[in-house]
């Protein structure tokens, strides 16, 4: 016998339980009366003491009291990190089987990309994993630049700005992870602190790119715009107060007996499991393996930065939390080095066949078209107008071939497989999203544990459904 338990608390279509008379067990599904395709009985529960419910169920069923229950958690459950559906089989409070249902946020980004030019593609990929927009942008641009064969021509300043934004983004992403993970365990202060710190990073993003997310700021060939005046000062200010803000979270969580009790030895996945399941990022580093693509296969000039790969050897959710906190500290270190490395120079590739013809300029009504550029193409140079028109409407051509580029996103290896057929549009772009891959480990991490630990295990992977479903 398996039982579907529909949660009908507060549902006005079912009978309200009378607290005095014990649990109410309704035989049959009020939403699908008469339908019983699998020949299984459907019960509707409305809260109550579990022992009594079990007794009631077994009385109705008339055989031995089996407590195996299949619960559909999500896709709209506050603790499943977005629209993730978990089909959980439980015995009492022990999870015996978990399956993930994904795809609720599938928006066909990869298909849409094939109908826009290469530069427009950035606008799509930034929307995949919405907590790490810059990582998708950089992975995509590195892939396009590799196909073009122009990796060496990317200006130094553009690479530094990319690293700067990526590391700030890592801080924001880890903060969201700790905030939502804490919230799912009931640590609401961690949530408040995490989102407060993330907000500071988003303020910087807003100042630099104009948007808090979905930036489309990194472009093939460089970045869309130079840093605005005041941005460096704002980031320096952030660097001064962020370490103390982190202490708030660490003082709250690191040695908190409840926090440790909820996370230690929870979501256990050792190195063998990580290798088999293709796990990367904090989950892999929590097994003690210092694997970080920024160190092992540097891109964007990461070899010039001084930072450490953080590891922990507990293989559990607590280790992943500690790794994320320490990585934020390392990211702050990299951001500080980025600011020192910023030297005046172009932020877009020299090659006029690839580079976007103009940057934006500050006008009376805010950021907008560069009037100088418009004057140039409309009044001075017919060739410049033709060039602008060709590049903006048609785009640049990319030589045929395919490449795979992997970078270290906060969640693990983010891969971009780009195929060109020599046209002005991507022939196929596929993203290997770390969350998509890592979600496969939910079952291994949580089967045999408590239902409450399942939530912690999912949170420790830090899946973002926008990236998982794309």
């Amino acid at each position: 016998m398996s039982v579907d338990v529909a949660q009908t608390v507060g549902d006005d279509r079912s009978e309200q339980p009378d607290p005095a008379s014990g649990p109410t067990v309704l035989v049959g599904d009020p939403y699908a009366a008469g339908s019983d395709p699998a020949g299984e009985q459907v019960f509707t529960l409305a809260g109550g003491d579990w022992d009594e419910i079990a007794r009631e169920l077994s009385r109705n069923e008339g055989d031995s009291p089996e407590e195996r229950i299949v619960v559909n958690m999500g896709p709209q459950h506050p603790s499943t990190h977005g629209v993730l559906r978990l089909v959980v089989e439980t015995e009492g409070e022990t999870v015996t089987e978990v399956r993930c249902g994904i795809g609720f946020l599938h928006t066909g980004i990869e298909k849409n990309l094939e109908f826009r030019n290469w530069t427009q593609g950035v606008t799509f990929v930034t929307r995949m994993d919405y907590t790490t927009p810059f990582y998708q942008e950089v992975a995509y641009c590195l892939a396009v630049e590799k196909l073009l064969g122009v990796e060496d021509q990317i200006p130094k300043r553009a690479s530094v700005i990319r690293v700067l934004l990526m590391e700030l983004n890592r801080i924001a992403s880890h903060m969201v992870c700790i905030a939502t993970g804490g919230m799912e365990m009931g640590a609401l202060s961690a949530m408040i602190f995490g989102f407060r710190e993330r907000e500071q990073v988003l303020d910087i993003f807003e100042m630099v790119t104009g948007l808090r997310m979905n930036h489309a700021f990194v472009r093939p060939g460089g970045v869309a715009q130079d840093l605005p005046p005041g941005a460096v000062d704002k980031i320096r200010e952030f660097l001064t107060y962020m370490p103390t803000r982190m202490k708030d979270i660490e003082a709250l969580c690191n040695e908190n007996p409840i926090f440790k009790g909820r996370t230690e030895n929870v979501g256990y996945l050792d190195l063998t499991g990580c290798m088999a399941l293709g796990m990367t990022g904090p989950v892999l580093r929590a097994t003690g393996l210092p694997h970080d693509l920024r160190k092992s296969q540097p891109y964007c000039g990461y070899e010039d930065y001084d930072f450490d790969v953080v590891t922990w050897d507990s293989c559990d959710a607590y280790g992943r939390y500690r790794i994320r906190m320490d990585e934020v500290r390392q990211s702050l270190k990299i951001v500080a080095q980025c600011l020192d490395k910023l030297e005046p120079g172009p932020v877009m590739i020299e090659d006029k066949k690839i580079a976007w013809p103009a940057q934006l300029a500050l006008g009376g009504d805010g950021m907008g078209n560069s009037l100088d550029h418009i004057r140039h193409i409309m009044g001075e140079s017919m060739e410049a107008l033709i060039h602008h028109f060709k590049l903006v409407t048609e785009g640049f051509r990319v030589p045929p071939g395919q490449v795979y580029v992997g970078i270290e996103s906060p969640k693990g290896e983010l891969g971009c497989h780009a195929v060109s057929d020599g046209g002005t549009r991507p022939y196929r772009v596929h993203f290997r999203d770390p969350s998509f891959n890592n979600l496969q480990a939910v079952a291994v991490m949580s089967e045999g544990g408590m239902l409450a630990d399942l939530i912690v295990a999912v949170a420790s992977i830090d899946p973002v459904m926008g990236g998982v479903d794309r």
Partner: protein
């Protein structure tokens, strides 16, 4: 592994012949005209007779450079030891943009992957997924997958490429070698209709279970509606002018 099994990097003649001859690049399309427009309008530019051949990189000449030669030698040697001639298993080796790709004949995909994983000199422990591509014009090899592998031990990357025709969209599943590809193969089935033989539960993953068709295939329309402006209309993205 004996040294005799290793193919000579430069093919001196007295040793084993090079298993894979340098092949010409693979022509995937021929395009006419200068602007790549796809319309049928008359050519008033005079450039209509320009011919552009679109070629995908073919077998690369040795030596490839970097660690690529060593990986190839080790892989070919290990396959030889298992009694599988490298020429049978590997169709071609392509080095493009500093990336090494083994184009594997589909029957031997799992064995090549297992060799790459287990051989101590190769040790590609991590499989980073499966990514499909649909080339409707390449008869007999319309569907292609790319499997990126990463060796943390040696800090190396290779890619496996395998193809299958549209009439027989079957490829062997790699789940037995790399359990990580479970969802990736489901996604590739969902999006391209490639059936991975031996996969434990090949079901749709991103699209609903009863969805008709495989959205990432080139013959699957994007859909969309025209964008309306006041007094103007822009066609939906798949109806707009494209430049090839």
């Amino acid at each position: 592994m004996s040294e005799g099994n290793l193919p000579e990097p430069n093919g001196n003649g007295n040793e084993l012949p090079q298993p894979l001859a340098v092949q010409a690049a693979e022509i995937v399309a021929v395009r006419h005209g200068m602007f790549g427009g796809s319309g049928t309008g008359g050519d008033t530019s005079g450039y209509g007779r320009l011919v552009r051949v679109i070629e995908f990189p073919g077998q690369s000449p040795r030596p490839y450079g970097g660690y690529f030669d060593e990986v190839e030698n080790e892989l070919f040697g290990a396959l030889d030891e298992q009694g599988l001639a490298p020429e049978t298993a590997i169709e071609k080796v392509v080095v493009y943009r500093d990336q090494l790709a083994f184009h594997v004949r589909r029957a031997h995909l799992a064995q090549v992957a297992k060799t790459l994983r287990d051989d101590p000199a190769l040790r590609f422990e991590l499989c980073l997924g499966v990514s499909g591509v649909h080339f409707p014009e390449e008869t007999g090899r319309e569907l292609q997958i790319l499997v990126p592998l990463l060796s943390i031990s040696h800090n190396r990357r290779v890619q496996l490429v395998a193809t299958c025709p549209d009439e027989d969209p079957h490829l062997p599943s790699l789940t037995g070698v790399y359990p990580a590809v479970d969802w990736h193969e489901r996604e590739t089935w969902d999006m391209f209709g490639i059936i991975f033989d031996g996969h434990p539960a090949l079901t749709r993953i991103l699209m609903p279970d009863d969805w008709p068709g495989h959205p990432q295939r080139k013959d699957y329309p994007l859909g969309g509606i025209p964008v309306e402006f006041k007094g103007a209309q822009i066609p939906s993205p798949d109806q707009r002018r494209s430049y090839r």
